[in-house]
Subunit: 122 residues, 2 copies
């Protein structure tokens, strides 16, 4: 049993907000090999992330506060207990509309699963 | 962009509590292939899960309330914003000690990554 908490993670400025990459747990030898990468994302009151776009799919699990997730496909509000899945190469920005509360997200991301047919064709 | 929320998931009795397996999203054609399985776990006030033990590693992301995670390796308190990782075949029980608030977890689980040397030996 191992515990990884947003409250005790080392955070650094990234994406216009603060992020705590889970690589920090691997460096301490505590993390087994995972089938995904992960990081904490902390958006301060009134803050927003920079626009981000990458080939990995990304599942944002809201664990504290609430925010607005925006992509070319729409906008949605999400509070603790809700997850938002961004598709590969889907541009996105996350806004914290609260003036008092921070928004904390566990972001889980992975490369798209390879297509078996393509592999067979090689 | 797709939204999956504990508040709107279909839950069913399982493990002595209520669970909402993410297979329900796949059935509606909304879920891409993920490198893990997932389910919502809702532990009512004063409740606890049955003891569980399985080969999959399991990352519990607490998204609402707080609880006590117990395994042969120890006990830990975890509240929203904290994750608890159970190793493969690590027996565990989750307790909700609150008399008023429910405990909601996003449970993410996957089989241990195969050992390349073993695969090569076949």
């Amino acid at each position: 049993m191992q515990v990884f908490s947003s409250g005790s993670a080392t955070l650094a400025p990234e994406f216009g907000v603060l992020s705590g990459r889970w690589a920090q747990y691997a460096e301490s030898g505590r993390l087994p090999e995972l089938p995904f990468d992960a990081m904490w994302v902390v958006v301060p009151p009134g803050g927003r992330t920079n626009e981000d776009c990458h080939p990995e799919l990304e599942l944002s699990v809201v664990v504290e506060g609430s925010g607005t997730f925006e992509s070319p496909n729409g906008r949605t509000e999400a509070s603790a207990g809700t997850t938002v899945l961004m598709d590969s190469a889907e541009r996105h920005v996350i806004h914290n509309n609260s003036a008092e509360s921070r928004l904390v997200i566990l972001s889980i991301y992975w490369m798209p699963v390879s297509v078996p047919e393509a592999a067979d064709a090689k």
